[in-house]
Structure formats: C-alpha cells, structure tokens
Amino acid sequence: MNSKSVKESVSALVDGQDENSKAIDKLKHDASLSESFANYHLIGDAMRNELPDNLNLDLAANIAAAIEKEPVSFAPNAKVTAQNEEVADNKKSNVISWFKPAAQYGIAASFAAALVIGFQTETQQDVHVPQPVLQTFPIGGSLDPVSMQQVESIPTSRQYSAAEQSQRINAYIMDHAQQLKSRQTNAISAEQVKLQQAEPELDQ
C-alpha cells in the first residue's frame, strides 16, 4: 500500500467508513500517519463545527516552551505578560508580541560573538579584530595611518580575484551601513562649523 492510499484509508477510518484494521495497525507504527490521523480528526471537528475554544496544537506547545526558555532581558515585563497571556486582554498581548523580538537579540548577539572568535582563531592570531559594533569606532593612536603603514609586500604584480573583490565590496557596504548606524547626528551642526573652520589646515 503506498502512502497515499494508506492516508486515504486513515481518512476513511476517521470518517467511520472503514472497518479495515490494517490502517489501524499501520497507524500504531507510523508517527507521520498518526499525525495525519489527528489532523483528520481536527478537520472533521472543524467541518462539524465542534472545535474546542482553545486549540492545543503541537506547534502552539512548542512556541510556548520556547518562549518560556527565552532569557528576557530587554523587556522585563514581557515574560510576566507571556505567562499571564490568557488573563491579559487581546490588545495588550498583541502589543507585546511586536516588541518581543528584541528579547531574542541576547541569544543572537552571543552567537555573533562566537562567530567572531571562530573567525579569529581560523585566521591569523596576531590580528585582533574587535567586535563588529566597536570596530567602527576609531582604534586610537597605537597604529600608524594606513597610508604610512609598513606593509610587507610581495613585489609581484597581482590582480585581485573576483571572489576577493566581491568580498571586499560587501565589507565596504556593510561597514558603510554600520557607520550610518553609529553616526552622532545631533552633534553635526556644531562639528560642521568647527570642521569648516579647520578645513584650510586639513587641506594644506
């Protein structure tokens, strides 16, 4: 019996149209079949308008468990609200759910940190690449300007490969996006004035 016809007989069984016990035997041993068994019952209930007020699907249970486990650091009230969800009125829980994603960043951020560490050990040990966020900030006076740096050079002419090139372009684009997200906009007018005055000196 192929899976489609097994499913059909499961469906028939649910509808009370099949006395064939083979389907029942199959059901006991096949997890996906028993899932469809449950689903067919659910469909039947829905068609007969007999659905319970509170649908307890596996999915719902999994999400609830995941929310339970999540560290809530950003929105301290979110966890409490999640627990009292049944009590809270619909509107409120709706609003919380929009804000909820923020809580996931705790996990995501640690993942990013792991990535950075992985990156460092994989590549040269002597180059310390700071965390992405901090990286966009100046590194201070300990390093010579790029333009004056003593670069160990291979004295052969070399064309960058397409892969290298596109990787660098990506890095520039991401860096630019990060720079925009670390700009201090409220200080601009004052600084602009200051810089415009300093311009002749810089341009010498």
Binding site: A109, V129, P155, Q159, Y172, R183, Q184
Partner: protein, 339 residues
Amino acid sequence: MLYLQNKLNCNKQNLSLINKHFYTTRNCLKKWFLATLFFSFSALANDDATTWLSKMKTALSEQQFEMSFVVVHGNKADPWRWYHGQINGQEIEVLTSLNGPGQQIVRRGDNVTYLQPEQLAYTIQGNVPAGPIPEIIRSDISKISQWYDFHLVGKSRVAGLPARLIRVIAKDNNRFNYWLWLHEESGLLLKSALINQQGEVLEQLQVSNLQIQSEPNELIAEVAKAELPEPYNLVPSQSHLVLDWSIGWMPEGFAKVKSDQHYLLGQKEIVDYMMLTDGVVWFSVYVRRLNTGDKITIGEFSSGANHYASHQIGEYEVTLIGKIPPKTANQLLKSIYWN
C-alpha cells in the same frame, strides 16, 4: 441586407460615440494637465511648501501615531511598523522591521538604540536614526533650503487619505530629489520617493495604514520604562583623526563629520575613513593602501539610491558609498590627493 446596413450604421455610431468619449477624456486630461502646470507655477511660492514641511516636522515629533509602511529600493520591498509618541515630554519611537530576522530601532529623545540580530544592542547619541525613513524629513528645513527648492505641487490621495505633494528639488546635480506626500489633516508623511536627475524613482516609501492616537501607545509606554544600553561616548578627537589625504572637491554644502581609521567590518584590514553630510545625505569615503604592484578593478554599481564606486589612485584604493549620483561620486573620488 438592410439589417446588415443597419448594424453597420449602428457600429459606426458606436465608434463615433467612443471617439467622442475619448476626446472628452483627452480634453479633461489636457485641462487637468494645464491645471497641474498652473498649480505648480502658481505654487512656486516656496513659503507654502515650507509651511507644509514645518507642519510635517512638528507632527512627526509631537503626534502619537502608529503606521505601517513598505520601503521599495531596487528590487527589494521591506515592510516596517513605526510607533511614535511622547511621554513626559520625551519623544519615543520604535521602528520594527516585519520581514526576515527582524531588527528594531528605538529612539528615546536624543538616544538611538539599534537592536539587530547579529550584534549586541547598542545606543548612539543622535536624533536621526539610520533606518528606513528618509533622513530629509528630519533635516533642518531652513538650512537645507540653501541646496534644495521646495514646491507645493497639489493634492492627491495616498493610503486612502487626502494628501499634499511637496517636491524637494536639488538646486544642483549633485543631489537627488525627493517627493513627499503629507497627510492633509495632520501633516504626517504618507509617501515619499527619491528621484534622480533623469526622473527615475530610485527609492519609495509607501504608508499603508496610519492611526493617530490621542494617548501614547502601550508599546511606547513600555519602551519609556525599558532598560536600554547606555549610549557610547565617542571622543571627538578620535572621530576627527587628521589623515594624510584630503578631498579636493565635494558638492557644495557637504562637510566632513567624521574621519578615522578602523578595521573594515568583518575584515582584518585597516582603512582610512571619512564621513560627509549635508544634513540630508550621509556618505562614506574609504582609502586603503594596496600592496606594491597590486591592481584593482575599477568597480561601480548602484542599488536603489545607494551608489558604490571604487578607483585606484597610485597605490591606493579609494571607495565611496552613499546616496549620491554616480557622476558626483566619481568626481569626488578623482579629486582625492595626498599631502
């Protein structure tokens, strides 16, 4: 035969009717076009447009609202939700990306916090979040009027609401133009388009749902109390490092707001960096020293309004990224010189 003749006649009549209808429509269109033309000339009075822009700025900082909008740039469309309100006189706004891993931008007064999936949350001092909303709506109108003309063009209907169209037209060819549709009643932004000198739309923002509230949203109230990271304190001397190269030409009104050296994001290379702005557009210039004899391919491409251009000047790779016209980007890159 007679019947056929009749039918033919009838068809003819129908045709002429259609023609007549067509002409009326065309006349109407003509009139409408003339009216629009007249409108745009009569509305040359910059004052009206400026009044509308001020109204928008006031509304954007004082109103309590919640809106959903989609940003279209290149072949991408990103949906966002925007909450804004005031609590105890402090402006609070939240921008939530609705697709993908999601990111949130939270602004409390003069602090902007970025919550992104791959980074630790951090806070920056500033009142213009780098997000989906065009910076022009936050800019100082009297200041940018040096570089842009404002035109009140007419009325239209956007997001189901009556709207006014304001065109912000650059006075030179080194900037893009903006069209802003504002809600007639509140002055809030309903639609915006970024348009190049050739009249092509490069980026669009379209509001689909706007709710103006009398009380601050519950989310806003929650954010007001939430614990957010402390703002980074950037030392001005560090963000204004004197580099050994300069930009010989930049469009009028632009100025350096940052110059430093840092590791290129995710790379182990250090680059010289400069950020320039006119208060509407922020763009980045990078200078990287190449190994002796290295040659890079000159690269250039646009995505939406963002342009990426890269040149080789001697032993250096100079790169520009930002929302400026390609010609301007290249002209600026070519003007870089070493002291």
